[in-house]
Amino acid sequence: MSKHKPQDKVVSDKLLADQVIMLPNEMTPERDLWPGIERAINHNSQKITADKQSNVFVPSAWAASIAIVILMSWLTFSPVINDKNVHGLVKTQSEVSVTQGQLVNFMQQNFKQQKQTLLASYGQPTVDKLPAAMQQELKQLADARASIRTALLTDENNADLLNLLDFTQQQELKLLQQLYRQYQVI
């Protein structure tokens, strides 16, 4: 880097300082940087909006998910329901002459009634005006409910499935109530 130069050709501290002061404070990038910036900030805005929506939804979704997992675990790993209990349930049902199918239908009608009353109290809002993520969650709950109902029709005398159906219905009602309370503008 160093070469021998005559004294008057050596760059001094003063000359260097002068040149630093004269440095341009602007340079022009070769490519247009704005489109990339615009894309990034739009992407971030969408992400923030989505995060906000999911934040609203998270507590209720978590609560429902945890409860379902606990219930499912309990159903899976708890000691097998002994014959006495099953006979007891069957006996109770037979005593009042109600089949499981009838009970399921009754629960379903009751659920629909409660849901209708709830929606009426919020001015009959339509689900399609809720954010997409929440519509999806509601649909999943409804699908789960439908699956349990189908399983009950083929699995006679399953008290646990009945309890699970009841639980799912209650969760759906609670969730709807929470959502419409938050989105009363809908």
């Binding site: 130069k5 050709k9 501290d13 260097l16 341009p24 404070n25 602007e26 990038p29 615009e38 971030n44």
Partner: protein, 217 residues
């Protein structure tokens, strides 16, 4: 030699541009305040005006600190994305350009740290070793750069960062030592090292002769 004269001329042109911009910036301060207020409310068109006004300065800062055109362009974009996210933090206690430069400096240093960490993980490079090494970058033939900028780009990373932050951006050694996580004494010694390396390399490239030739024209 002619090309060197032309490059040197750009330094003088650069100063003219710098002064013209200074005069213009005071006239636009009211407009800038309005853009800042609107950008805080989420106006992208106001933010675009801020970008248009400041991006060349921020790009110059990025280029000088990173000494690489592509990285400078990428990091300059990152600076404005961060600015969009943080613009509500600007309380008007300092000039907007000063605040923006500090945001930009942090983004550049963050980029360098990430890059260095990655390199260290992959190649197990010792930090000190990388700093002691003589500049390996050769003078770039980018005609848009001043001669001095080309020589600054050839400095070792730490010396270059300290020189740009102290001599060009006007930070104090105490501030630089915090930013670069080094002792104040190290910041000062890196600055002296950078100055000596620059004087040596400019002398070797016959910088004064070029200047004299230009003055005789």
């Amino acid at each position: 030699m002619d090309s060197q004269i032309n490059k040197h001329k750009k330094v003088i042109d650069g100063k003219a541009l710098f002064n013209a911009n200074k005069a213009q910036s005071s006239d636009e301060s009211d407009g800038e305040q309005a853009w800042i207020a609107q950008a805080k409310q989420g106006s992208q068109s106001a933010f675009y005006q801020l970008y248009k006004k400041h991006h060349r300065q921020i790009y110059a800062l990025c280029w000088r600190m990173l000494a690489d055109k592509d990285s400078a362009e990428d990091v300059c974009q990152e600076v404005f994305v961060v600015l969009w996210q943080k613009i509500n933090n600007f309380r008007g206690e300092s000039k907007f350009s000063t605040w923006l430069h500090s945001v930009a400096t942090n983004v550049v240093l963050g980029h360098l740290r990430k890059h260095k960490n990655w390199l260290q993980r992959v190649f197990s490079i010792e930090e000190q070793g990388a700093n002691v090494a003589e500049p390996s970058v050769s003078l770039t033939d980018d005609s848009t750069l001043t001669i001095l900028d080309q020589h600054i780009a050839c400095l070792p990373e730490r010396a270059r960062l300290v020189f740009v932050l102290f001599a060009v951006e006007g930070y104090r050694h105490e501030e630089i030592s915090k930013m670069l996580k080094m002792a104040v004494g190290s910041s000062k010694s890196q600055y002296h090292r950078a100055r000596n390396l620059l004087k040596e390399s400019l002398t070797a490239s016959d910088y004064i002769s070029v200047e004299e030739e230009m003055n005789h024209e």
